[in-house]
Subunit: 237 residues, 2 copies
DNA sequence: CAGTGGTCTAGACCACACG
DNA sequence: GTGTGGTCTAGACCACTGA
């Protein structure tokens, strides 16, 4: 009972995408809509699904492209490691861009998360991780100003706050408590990761603890579908 | 620079939702679109965002409602526990519906995951978990027919395959390897969870191992935003 | 500049829930 | 039946990219 063009369209579009070589460009939306005999709005609804599955990639002003197989960063969550370290292990080159380092005053959320008073000075580092010029993750770390200063960052930052703290050796880090969520991309995050608003992202909210129990880093991470495979081993109670 | 009505609309809608008591009904979409001076399509785009954040809930043929605070099931991922056990611990009543028990032959994916041959008989249990008559999770477990038969299920099933196997005591279970993803809801999953197509869901793909290393359960789980908070403690390497 | 995807409109019809 | 949200259309204009 395919009442809706959408079902047919999904399968037509799937066939079309499968028939094209990776990296190739799809016809423009108006052309494709006419060819598949649906309105552009309906076509775009279907394309949204395929983009969410990582099969195509749309870029404003450029076109829509078939995505080939990409290297996957597979990681167990029991250990906390930087993306750089993970990528290095599987021989994948990653780069850092859209780097922003700023000072700010602690708002209520950050103050609570970091266990400090509202208004204290914080250091915030945000950046995008790329593999092969595609953005794959957007990371925002917020630390108390006395733990990491903006000045120190300008000299030493290579992409990972964790690696920087480990290299420095102090404070002594113990573990991270990480909340795991699925969210739709906010306009800001969507822009950074070059995806559409409300596209599906895996989202980690993490608090990094020292051995003395202090929280020294409150971080938000956003991961694009397809480039990462996170897993966890769960013991039977 | 609010070039688009969308930005203004987001804030107008947020104000409206915040001003209404929980559980209350919003005006119909055509009425609201006229009131906020946007087209219905644009309004629905904005509403999609808010539904993704769990602030409203749309039900076809009924209306759109403000969602109040809901009890959150908070769980560490290190231990494998059934949703029933988790809910029970925080005093939350859950129920099971849309229960389907079926036999099928192993396709390639299931055969690989379960370490068996293609074509062997499997038992599949799918069901929806509700709290307070709202669906919150959709679970699909697939097991080899010799591990769990359809007949045995009809007598003993209470909602959790894990609890059933543990109650039975055999096979002896050790751990689960769980992949964690964020996905948009497929039409089937969307229908089961009473959400829209492509709505954001947290998705677990898990293989349950016995102490002897055999995989006895390959499961897919889909979790609605807002009802669960999953976290993991990550040791610094 | 031309061509692309991104947003928006106004209107229509369909599927569903409930009285 | 009535009213709701779900889908779809045809067309328009905006913002971005790259030649």
């Amino acid at each position: 009972m395919a009442h809706y063009p959408f079902r047919r369209l999904q399968s037509d579009l799937a066939d079309l995408i499968a028939s094209l070589p990776p990296e190739s460009k799809l016809p423009s939306e108006p052309a494709l809509a006419h060819q598949l005999r649906v309105s552009r709005a309906t076509l775009r609804e279907a394309m949204r699904s395929f983009e969410g599955q990582g099969l195509i990639r749309r870029r404003q002003g450029v076109g829509t492209f078939v995505v080939g197989q990409v290297p996957v960063i597979d990681s167990g969550l029991e250990l906390l490691e930087s993306i750089e370290k993970l990528a290095q292990r599987i021989g994948l080159a990653v780069s850092v861009g859209e780097l922003q380092i700023e000072e700010l005053s602690a708002g209520e959320d950050c103050a609570t998360a970091l266990g400090i008073s509202v208004g204290l000075q914080l250091t915030r580092i945000s950046r995008v991780i790329y593999t092969d010029s595609h953005p794959v993750a957007y990371l925002v770390d917020t630390l108390p100003g006395d733990v990491l200063s903006v000045d120190e960052l300008h000299d030493n930052f290579s992409g990972s706050v964790l690696d920087l703290l480990l290299r420095r050796g102090t404070p002594s880090l113990a573990y991270s408590r990480t909340d795991i969520k699925a969210i739709g991309a906010s306009p800001e995050v969507a822009r950074k990761l070059q995806v559409q608003r409300d596209d599906v992202l895996l989202h980690f909210v993490a608090s990094l603890y020292t051995t003395s129990g202090r929280v020294v880093d409150y971080s938000f991470s956003y991961f694009l579908h397809g480039y990462f495979r996170f897993h966890v081993v769960r013991r039977v109670g």
